[in-house]
Each structure stands twice: as C-alpha cells, then as structure tokens.
Symmetry: C2
Subunit: 215 residues, 2 copies
DNA sequence: CGGTAAGCTGACGGCATGACAGGACAAGTG
DNA sequence: CACTTGTCCTGTCATGCCGTCAGCTTACCG
C-alpha cells in the first residue's frame, strides 16, 4: 500500500532516517498539545527533537505537511471505531447499550487525539481538501454504520420515510465530535462528564431510532 | 458599557484613529475568509488596509488580539439569536416550526460569520479562556433558551426525569455549530443543504421534546 | 578499503515581528 | 496668523524564524 518513505529531495529513508522522522512527528504532536497551533514553530519542534530545522525540512515540506502525516497515522487507527457499531442492534435494551458504547468509545478516541483533531477540524473547515478527506476517513466508519442503521430501520418502517439517513448520521457524528472537542467547556457550564455521556447517548438513540431507549 | 477605545500605548483614539482601527479589523476579517488562520500575517493586513504594520501594533497587541475584537463585535450581534426561541412553543405543529426556524437562523448566522467563528472555536478548543468565554457568550442565548424549554417540559412530566437539560441543550447547540462549520462537507457527502435542514430540525425536536414532531 | 548513498547541519538571504522616536496633521487658542 | 497640544502614522532597526544549499559525517556494501 504505502510506498517507501521518502525525503523531500527524493532519497529513500533508511532505519535511522525513519527514526528521526518519527521523533520529529512525536515532538510536533506533543507541541500541538501544549501550545496554540498558530504558535508552533519548526525551530521549536526541531530543538525539542534534538536536531536542526534543516533536518525537519528534509522530511516535511512544512508544518502543515507534518500534521497531515500525524493525522494520517491517527486516521488508520481511528478506523477501529467501526467496531463500536458493527453488527450491533438498535432495538430494545441492546439499542441503548449500543448508543452508550458508541458515545463512550468516541469520546475516548477524541480525548486521546484532541490536539491533532483540532487542527484537522480547522483545516477541513477552512476548506482544505486534504484535511477534509482525512476528516471523512476518520468519521466515515462511524458515519456509514450509523447511516446504515437508520436506513435499515427505515426499510422496516420503524423510521419515517422522509428521514435522510446520511444527513442524520452526519449530524450525530458532528455532534459527537463537537462535544468531544469542548468537553472542558461543558464542565465549566456545570455539566459533568458522567452526566454528559448518558444524555449524549440518549440523543444518539433518539436520532437513530426516533424513539426513547428502553433502559 | 465599553469605555473609550484606547491604543496600545494608552492614548485615546479619535475620529480618524477609530476609522483606521476599524479598517484594519475589516481587512483582517476579510483575510481570515480567504486564507488559513495560520498564514494570516500582520504585514498583509496592514498592506490591504493601505497602512503600515506599525500602525497595526498601535491598536492591537497581535493578530489574536484583533481577532478577539472582531469576535466581540460579532458576539453582541449574535445575542439576537435569542429571538429564534423566546416565547416559542415546543408543542404540536408550532414545535416543529420552532425547530425549523431555529435551525434556519442558526445556520444563517454561522454562514455569515464562518471565518471568525472557526478561529473562536479553535481558540476555545485549545483552552484559551478568552475565546472560550466568547464562545459561551455567542451560544448562551440559544443554549439557555433550549435548556429552559427542556426543563419546562420536564416539569410537566413530558420529558424523563433523568434528562439533564443543560447537557442536552449544550449537545444540540454543539451539533448545530459543528454542522454549520462543515456545511460544505455534507454537500460533498451527497447531502444537500435543503435536505440537511429538516433533518437537523428533526434531531433538535427529538432532543428537546423526546418525540417526533407533528408536521 | 574505497565507493556510494543516507543523514545531518552551519550558514545565509529573506521576511515578519514588535518597539521607538520623530514627523505630519487637525484643532483649539491668543 | 503663529503657536501649542495631542492624535495619528511611518521609517527604521534589532531580533528571530523561514526555507534552502553546499558540504561534512556516518553507515553500508562489495
């Protein structure tokens, strides 16, 4: 799938090269967690990695390029979110559990990768197609599964005909992502995390099935 | 409310000064719409405004400071979103209309100010309290109204006791904001704006009242 | 051991930042 | 009209980051 890792000037990266490359990515990642995206400088990343700015430019065209790389790694990892939904039922008590586990897994994933996801979100919102595709890739698994679930319930007549499965699924996923991004915000608002989750799960369940869960 | 407009070095700005100041803000605003936040430079804003970088620094400590100013202006303007909900009913057909109008007005507001709202969202997500407060200020009107609506329905026994009004309201508002930020995204997904709105309204209605709307 | 390619960096021109001092300008005063 | 006062803007400068290149060091291989 992925060809050889290459430097900007076309050389193939060997063992050592890949190590420095990865170290730069790690340091950048850390940097993004601790300071605003706008203030992350190449020279700081390089210093943190114990190398020089020139080395950075050997592996990445610019900061954005490196961020895309990190996000790509995370995206493949995030494909595992499908497991939260594959083959799950949306009926009865099982449906309520599905909703809860989805919310749980999603928030956890977002919390782990919040720094990089913020940047991806920004890039996508700014209209950058690369970031937009990446965001799709991350959310697609969940989105498609949700969309399928709605469509299936719809075909059984359990959901109104005029509901658009893709629109509902996309909106719910956007909600999960947004809430995850501003988890701290809710806390200051007087809503604790433990309270937030069941209410989110309720909204997801309502959105997918159109009815309240049986707990 | 607001004291006199002051320059960084403490002078009070007069007629002419306020004009250039505003012009700088306008140009910055425009700039944010056309290029990534990370790439907006003081020198470009100054050039666009037909002045020099030094002038910019006379009125604002940095780009972030100016952004906060713009966002503040928008926030007071955005308080008008309350009208979308004040005194509206959530029962029967009126409830469905309330949901629709809320979605409509919200998306429109977001579309108008998307560039600056992106930056506010980023700042808030990064943990900057100033941006966070600003985001609250913008969303508070809608959020409180929604929260009140849920609480009222709850007191009448129409909504389950274990629902947390603030959590539900906050999540719904976050959903609206997120979907608005990525409106273009949905389009590429094969969901058209016209289809998106009613489905969003459905989700809002479901979330607030716990039941499907009567159309 | 010598050749070859990978890996890294010092150094440099270019540009943005942010501060200051001083000049231009408008308005009021005698 | 000259003079004063305070606002408004810019030229200039030290500083620091960007992004590139030539060239040095290191590792691998026959």
């Amino acid at each position: 799938m992925t060809g050889q890792v290459r430097t900007v000037d076309g050389r193939v990266a060997g063992r050592r090269g890949q190590a420095t490359r990865q170290k730069l990515l790690d340091c950048l990642s850390e940097m993004l967690s601790s300071s605003p995206y706008r203030d992350v400088k190449v020279i700081d990343v390089a210093r943190k990695a114990g190398t020089s700015p020139a080395t950075f430019y050997q592996y990445f065209p610019d900061v954005e390029g490196a961020v895309l790389e990190i996000a790509e790694q995370m995206a493949t990892e995030g494909a595992g979110l499908t497991e939260l939904l594959d083959g799950r039922s949306w009926v009865g008590k099982a449906g309520w559990q599905t909703a809860q586990e989805l919310v749980d897994g999603f928030l956890e994933f977002w919390r782990k990768n919040d720094a990089i996801l913020r940047v991806v979100d920004l890039g996508a919102a700014e209209g950058d197609k690369r970031f937009y595709k990446l965001r799709m890739k991350i959310l697609n698994s969940v989105n498609n599964s949700l969309s399928d679930a709605v469509a299936e319930l719809q075909s059984k007549g359990k959901v109104d005909k005029d509901v658009n499965p893709a629109a509902v699924a996309g909106s719910l996923v956007a909600m999960l992502a947004a809430v995850a991004s501003h988890q701290k915000g809710f806390q200051t608002w007087g809503v604790k995390q433990a309270e937030l989750k069941p209410n989110l799960a309720l909204l997801v369940h309502l959105g997918v099935t159109g009815r309240k869960p049986t707990k």
